[in-house]
Symmetry: C2
Subunit: 466 residues, 2 copies
């Protein structure tokens, strides 16, 4: 009987502690209060479309915003003006130097095969940071490879040639970011790997899930010890065409003329605005996105969507009269695409600041329908955030999992939690870094639900802490 009682006690204890656990999921407000606020975020964002309207301005009035360009400067002023109108409690710039790469007005690749009586212009686009060719361009044979291993095995054939990295995007991967990660190494490191063996230039198959004739650009990086050679992306259709021609005529040559260039670095800015926390103003919940974008397209999904979501979260708090306990800070980074200078600048600030970064949320995976948050934190904080899912699910957040977060926030060393907003990934790499990344590719409801999801998590973090 005594034993029986003990068993009962243990079971009751287990049930009781579990009850406490569930009861204590929310400390500052009740679950129904949180659900009510979430409902307001959703209604206001879906009916007001404030973020979508800001995105229209950013994409159509300002356009693409590559670091160092006049439109990037205009975007900085635009963002400051927005934060002012939203009524941010404070508002400041962080100044730093950024790379100033310009595409120039020539990016020509003409495929010539005497065997096939062919002279065809290929759809290419210089890669960011690439040097140009000489004014006369170059006219060389092409060596097609599909991996760095293959390049290494063919190293004796490389000298003086244009190396053509033709590695397809792996369509079998459900998360398209994984396919991107696999393929993007050829875009980033291909030039220096090929230059080591004496290549004259590289062409890289565009890293995209969409089969068409549009090149997708992005940054490339030179290795210091290796000669710099020109690098460009080629569209998928023309990559396949080139590959077919090379099968018939391995001696086919490409005339390549690029006049992109790296100009001296110039000053630019992170733009920061915040709502001061009412109880713990030195504890920060950061929402980050990047103002700069590639010059093809309008930078609508990458990362105009993230920018207007970060702005709109502040707008929603102000408009709905919500006073967060902790400070909610919107950081619009400069130069994510080709240098991460803004991320480094803010990271240095965070290192030395007396503030405590509770959490930093980054939105840089497009303005698609919300799915989850990918988090880097300790297991207790992760479990705490996961216990909020009954609230977050209202804004289409189905999960919170450990995983990658974001390039800009990753430079904040002392944050308790780094959090990546994860929308659906199926359409992102169709438009990423290309002329397809325009406002028309953004669905207003999907974008705004992302805002609502981020606002909800921000509010939970500001009230519950970590």
């Amino acid at each position: 009987m005594k034993n029986y009682n003990l068993v009962k006690t243990v079971l009751i204890f287990l049930i009781f502690t579990q009850s406490i656990y569930f009861a204590q999921t929310f400390n500052s407000h009740t679950k129904s209060d949180y659900l009510a606020i979430t409902g307001k975020f959703i209604s206001k964002s879906l009916t007001g479309l404030t973020g979508y309207k800001m995105l229209k301005e950013l994409t159509k009035k300002i356009g693409p915003r590559l670091s160092g360009s006049p439109s990037a400067s205009r975007a900085v002023k635009w963002a400051k003006e927005k934060l002012k109108r939203i009524g941010a409690d404070s508002l400041w710039y962080q100044k730093m130097l950024v790379p100033h790469w310009v595409r120039g007005d020539s990016e020509k690749a003409i495929l010539v095969s005497d065997k096939m009586d062919l002279g065809k212009q290929l759809n290419i686009a210089s890669l960011g940071s690439s040097i140009g060719t000489d004014n006369d361009g170059l006219f060389e044979k092409v060596l097609e490879v599909h991996s760095f291993d293959e390049l290494d095995s063919l190293k004796d054939l490389v000298d003086g040639k244009i190396v053509f990295f033709n590695t397809p995007f792996d369509q079998t991967l459900v998360n398209t970011f994984n396919a991107y990660s696999k393929a993007v190494q050829y875009r980033v490191y291909g030039a220096s790997r090929a230059a080591k063996y004496g290549a004259a230039a590289v062409l890289v198959r565009s890293v995209t899930s969409l089969y068409d004739n549009v090149p997708h650009v992005g940054v490339m990086v030179y290795k210091d010890s290796v000669e710099k050679i020109p690098a460009a992306a080629i569209s998928l259709e023309d990559a396949d065409f080139l590959s077919d021609v090379l099968k018939i005529d391995p001696g086919a040559k490409i005339y390549l003329n690029l006049n992109c260039a790296n100009l001296p670095e110039i000053p630019s800015y992170n733009v920061i605005g915040e709502i001061k926390g009412s109880e713990k103003p030195d504890e920060i919940i950061l929402i980050g996105a990047h103002l700069d974008s590639w010059d093809k397209g309008e930078g609508a999904h990458d990362d105009g969507a993230g920018v207007v979501q970060a702005l709109e979260v502040l707008y929603l708090f102000k408009n709905l009269g919500i006073h967060p306990k902790r400070t909610v800070r919107c950081v619009l980074y400069m130069n994510e695409e080709n240098g991460s200078r803004g991320a480094k600048k803010y990271g240095e600030y965070a290192d030395t600041s007396k503030e405590r970064h509770i959490a930093a949320i980054e939105s840089d995976r497009g303005g698609f329908t919300p799915r989850g948050f990918s988090v880097k934190t300790d297991s207790v904080s992760l479990a705490k955030m996961q216990s909020w899912l009954p609230v977050l699910q209202k804004s289409l957040i189905d999960w919170i999992r450990p995983g990658g977060t974001g390039a800009d926030i990753s430079k904040i060393k002392n944050a308790k939690a780094l959090i990546g907003f994860v929308p659906d990934s199926q359409r992102y790499f169709e438009l990423h870094h290309s002329a397809h990344d325009v406002l028309e590719a953004v669905n207003p409801r999907e974008l705004e639900l992302g805002t609502a999801a981020i606002a909800t998590l921000t509010y939970l973090l500001s009230e519950e802490g970590l």
Copy 2:
């Protein structure tokens, strides 16, 4: 010490039983086997795009497929041919009579206001099952209402007028199907409700989340005891225009001329193909979708997507050499849109058949990225299916919840589980029943991941049973 041991025993028992529970989640194969098969479904569908290619044929070669139309007949033949080429073990038709409504060649609404010197053609489209006007059309004043309550309160003003139901789509609802359900009653029942008070015709604000000038059609239903009057949908832009004009000139009139008509019913068919179960052939896992579609657009998402997903599941099983223990049956229903005659026909068959319908899965919410399955079943079967989520999540299924399933499968009374495939809903009602519902609005990866998700659940059901 003894007590301590007992506590230990209880805890070990709890852990042990939980282990058994988890170990017993899968009986027929291991979890890793299921994950491997799921991986094959995903790879094959995302790289082969067999469903998307079939959808291209169905939308571009056959086009819209309203019940009774020549193209609906062609779709029946096309579906049978597909099932034959896929290698279905058996293949048959179910014959029944279907309504034969035709749009005709006139659907004209001209808004006339003497006060404003206005004669403007409004973008309208006759609603399915509606009668036409007389040849001369009608020319009447307009009464705008926003609810049936308002209609009732204004009943003395209705006689002889065109009643204009102008109820907006509720954009604050995250699940757009809930907004559709709220608004669609005016399209379906508006005519008879207004005719009761003597209305001459009705115009109904299109039930859509997209603000533009395209009308969205759909079925309407006459109440037997009430006079039939013509009914048409009006685009959102023209609904707002009409409302604005009525504010300035309540005496404005519309000239309405529709020559749609209900012709005598004619025979049509459900098309059914299956893979016989190797161990329990009389236990059926049904995958259903509807072949017919509205005549605006191409019926790409509604429900071409579901049709090709159902076909592709059979294709995947055959192509990958998977022999299900239970019978996997693809039922392509006729006449979901305006009569559900196919659903009734199959339901009658299921009632009298000696087969046991373990589960019926319907895909009729568009070919968007997968999110979950909405299930009607007992709690034990629900829990069993939910225990499969670690496998299903691989194909982007984040949840299995009780809820609505599908119009066609709902007529199967004796099924153990009715299951609706739930893709993301944000874009569906932008194109639903309109000229926007074309192949170009379907994303190949999103469509194919839907197939992979349905194939995975089908395989689990076929092996594990319910």
